[in-house]
């Protein structure tokens, strides 16, 4: 029997395509977890949507990530790249197929994305955009109050201005005071930056000094192993004792190292004969701290007639406390001014004062040299 088809093959094909596209649309709507989601590759002192988060946790688009003073986080976005947030940073991350976006609310972040992924990140001062025509490595820093961007090929949109960030340049932009709207005019400044020290040893260096490097590292590591505060060694993942992906907090690749440094051309350095800082001195002479506590001290420079860039760090890298803001702070202290730093001794044992690695901090200034200051430890906070 000759059966006539109800619909033609062409129509059937169109109908099938329509039905399948409808089905896929419905599936995508019904399943809130689309394929675009990330993973916390590294998670140290971080909260995700206000809940404590550990490495391995899935990050959904629209999540709010916040790190504490000693925290850091790297989000693995699979094909979309990676996002690293520095200490004391808060950001909302959004992502979908081919786009990484969001808003940086405080602190600094580094976005690394392959070719074909567009980046569109907001700050209070405007937007930082990369069109994805090439792979992107983008550093956005709002710690100074303004937005500073380092990249190659990214654009900055602020107010009614659009500027392209060139490699080897840092671009700083801010809205003019009294113009809260995004459409208001803004100030964009370009600065040359020093060549990145964020480096891997060159192959020739590697070949020549493998043994020397190994020897120095092992000796240093062994000494650190003896002098370190062992009470600090806690697995990031708590009781599991599981291995984390954050064992290599390396100086060269750590987020602190990636952070943009303060513009070099503004520095005034004092030589021996610089009249701006004859007989200068760095204060305080002694700093008081208490285990389990946050204590504040003010750094002041006497007899300095120029603005100084000041950084503070523990003398020993194995010290139980942290300095906040995080090193290298490079805060600017005008003549006669001071700047408050904090010693966060939250993780210090009660006998922190008896451990030599907790005994000193180093104050580095651009005008009055470097000074080691003794830390005096008081009774622990309850």
């Amino acid at each position: 029997m000759n059966v006539k088809p109800v619909i033609s093959p062409q129509r059937a094909l169109i109908l099938a395509l329509f039905v399948s596209s409808f089905f896929f649309t419905i599936t995508a709507i019904a399943d809130p977890a689309s394929n675009v989601s990330g993973e916390l590759l590294v998670a140290k002192e971080v909260t995700l949507d206000d809940a404590p988060a550990s490495a391995g946790l899935t990050v959904l688009s629209g999540s709010r990530i916040k790190t504490s003073l000693g925290g850091r986080v790297t989000v693995n976005l699979s094909k979309l790249g990676r996002v690293t947030l520095g200490p004391d940073t808060e950001a909302v991350l959004t992502f979908s197929e081919g786009v990484v976006g969001g808003e940086l609310l405080s602190g600094w972040m580094v976005i690394s994305a392959p070719k074909g992924v567009r980046i569109s990140h907001l700050t209070a001062d405007g937007a930082v955009i990369a069109d994805g025509s090439q792979s992107s490595l983008l550093t956005i820093d709002v710690t100074s109050g303004n937005t500073r961007v380092e990249s190659s090929g990214a654009s900055v949109l602020s107010g009614n201005k659009r500027e392209v960030v060139v490699a080897g340049e840092e671009l700083e932009f801010s809205r003019l005071p009294g113009n809260p709207s995004m459409s208001a005019s803004s100030v964009i400044t370009r600065r040359q930056i020093a060549a990145s020290e964020n480096g891997i040893a060159s192959r020739s260096t590697m070949g020549a000094s493998v043994l020397t490097s190994l020897l120095t590292t092992v000796v240093r590591g062994a000494v650190e192993g003896i002098t370190l505060n062992h009470s600090q060694v806690v697995s990031l993942d708590g009781r599991d004792g599981g291995r984390t992906l954050d064992r290599t907090i390396r100086q060269a690749s750590s987020p602190d190292y990636m952070r943009l440094s303060v513009a070099q051309q503004q520095q005034t350095t004092c030589g021996e004969f610089n009249e701006n800082c004859a007989n200068c001195s760095v204060k305080p002479d002694l700093i008081f701290a208490r285990p389990k506590c946050l204590t504040t001290f003010a750094v002041k420079l006497n007899n300095v007639n120029a603005t100084s860039l000041v950084s503070v760090r523990p003398f020993f890298s194995s010290a139980c406390f942290r300095i906040s803001p995080t090193f290298p702070q490079q805060v600017q202290i005008p003549p006669g001014g001071s700047y408050p730093f904090q010693i966060s001794a939250r993780f210090c044992p009660n006998n922190a004062g008896q451990l030599p690695q907790n005994s000193q901090i180093v104050i580095e200034t651009s005008t009055c040299g470097k000074r080691n200051v003794q830390v005096a430890w008081g009774t622990p906070c309850q």
Binding site: D31, P32, A33, S34, N35, S37, G38, E39, L41, L48, D49, A51, P52, A53, S54, G56, L57, T58, L60, T74, N76, S78, R82, T84, S112, A113, P114, S135, L137, N198, A201, T205, M206, S209, V210, L211, S213, L214, T217, V218, G221, A222, E224, G225, V233, D237, G238, R239, D240, G242, R243, L245, D246, R247, T248, R250, Q251, A252, S253, M258
Partner: protein, 453 residues
């Protein structure tokens, strides 16, 4: 004892060479272990170039290869290059030590970074095969499955992970809730059967405004576990804040008393015959001594039973009392109630006691009560709803003290929560000391009907 007699010079040389070679081999082994151990020590800080140098010197160390892979993954650099290098290094580490599950976690992360989630899942499944009870592996796999849209398959792994490490509960609940579109069943599976995890599920549901399910989860947790947990009081308070005061009181009463007969009394422990409940709650008597008066249960001077509540005044001028004993009560909005108790006094001297007049008008705010009295206040605003007459001075046997009031009807919750408390407010900045003793017993709160009639 075995003795070797090596007399031939050639044999002696051979033996010496053998021993030397053995020493060199052992020395190299010990050195390698030491060097790799130092690099692998999480307390030491090592630069990437140092790590590369070490990996070049010991290319067959899976530890160094994996450390280098991690370093590549966390480095802020060209994404394609670092992810490809990380994948190769991690794969090499796994090939060198195929029985180490932890290296497979790094390999999985590197594979996912390179965009290959299927391969990452395979690596994690192999890690689970090697370490089936390791919570970290379950955690990683569960999260990966979520990212692969396999929520159903991830739930058991999540449960295994959070049971071992409850600090991950909140973030897991958040994730599963969001991904599942707010499905109670999904978070219920993750919480498992352990009371500790279910005690965290109940407040989570409360936070998501799933009040009925929260109360249901809580009520089904083992009673002893609820009594032990510090979360219990927080949950009951949160339930009150969410407008479920009646449910909170019922759940608390089930903990306070093992067997409840019928409806709950409006005033809990009216004659002070029961010991304070193990779970602190505003629905029980809350006793607080102050510098003006010591408050305690007196075991030997009850009116009906053996116990009563005793207040010993310290004889301090300008005595001020507000809530030295108190209890939250639930009333029906708009209904008329009578609060009654019995009072006994001994040598009570208190300014304002003898000049006091009659009970306050229900619903109206009385003038500042100078004498000692019981008041009914709104438990949120502490505004006064009713007050008893002042307690008479001197010495007396048990006498009734009561007040009628209408429960406010401007409510948003299922039941209006009020508070019965002791109060004395001096009229001036100084008044005469209050001294003596008062006993309270046999409290009752009874509904008299509709307040509008």
């Amino acid at each position: 004892m075995i003795r070797f007699n090596v007399t031939s010079p050639l044999a002696q040389v051979m033996f010496a060479l053998f021993v030397a070679a053995l020493c060199v081999a052992l020395g190299r082994l010990v050195t390698a272990q030491f060097v790799i151990g130092v690099f692998n020590d999480p307390r030491t800080t090592v630069t990437k170039s140092e790590l590369q140098a070490a990996a070049a010197y010991y290319p067959d160390s899976s530890v160094l290869q994996s450390l280098l892979a991690e370093s590549e993954m966390t480095e802020a650099a060209d994404h394609e290059g670092t992810s490809a290098r990380a994948g190769l290094l991690a794969a090499r580490a796994v090939a060198l030590s195929p029985w180490r599950y932890d290296l497979r976690l790094i390999l999985a992360a590197a594979q996912e970074l390179g965009g290959d989630r299927a391969a990452a899942e395979e690596s994690l499944r192999e890690a689970i095969r090697l370490a089936p009870n390791n919570a970290e592996v379950h955690w990683r796999l569960a999260n990966l499955l979520v990212r692969e849209n396999k929520l159903g398959a991830s739930l058991d792994h999540f449960r295994a992970a959070v049971t071992a490490n409850p600090t991950r509960l909140l973030s897991t609940f958040n994730l599963v809730w969001d991904v599942s579109g707010g499905r109670f069943e999904a978070v219920d599976v993750v919480a498992g059967a352990k009371p500790e995890t279910r005690l965290r599920l109940a407040p989570f549901l409360l936070g998501r405004e799933r009040l009925e399910e929260a109360a249901q989860v809580f009520s089904r947790i083992d009673r002893q576990a609820r009594l032990r947990s510090t979360e219990t009081a927080n949950f009951l308070n949160a339930l009150i804040s969410a407008g479920k005061a009646e449910q909170s009181r019922r759940l608390w009463a089930e903990l306070a008393k093992e067997k409840l007969d019928g409806a709950l009394p409006l005033i809990w422990n009216r004659g002070f015959e029961e010991n304070p409940a193990r779970v602190p709650s505003g629905f029980d008597w809350q006793l607080t001594s102050s510098k003006y008066a010591a408050v305690a249960i007196d075991p030997g001077s009850g009116r009906g039973g053996s116990r009563s509540l005793r207040m010993d005044f310290a004889g301090i001028d300008t005595t001020t009392l507000d809530g030295e004993f108190k209890q939250s009560v639930l009333v029906r909005p708009g209904a008329r109630y009578r609060l009654e108790c019995f009072v006994k006094t001994r040598d009570l001297i208190s300014p304002g006691a003898s000049v006091a007049t009659s009970a306050a008008v229900a619903g109206a705010t009385p003038a500042i009560p100078e004498g000692l009295r019981l008041v009914v206040v709104n438990s949120a605003s502490y505004s006064m709803i009713a007050t008893t007459p002042p307690i008479n001075a001197g010495t007396s046997e048990w006498r009734s003290l009561s007040v009628d009031f209408v429960a406010p009807s401007d409510v948003k919750t299922d039941a209006k929560m009020l508070e019965v408390r002791i109060r004395r407010q001096p009229r001036f900045s100084y008044d005469e000391p209050t001294s003596g003793v008062i006993w309270f017993d046999d409290f009752s709160l009874s509904e008299l009907g509709d307040g509008r009639k």
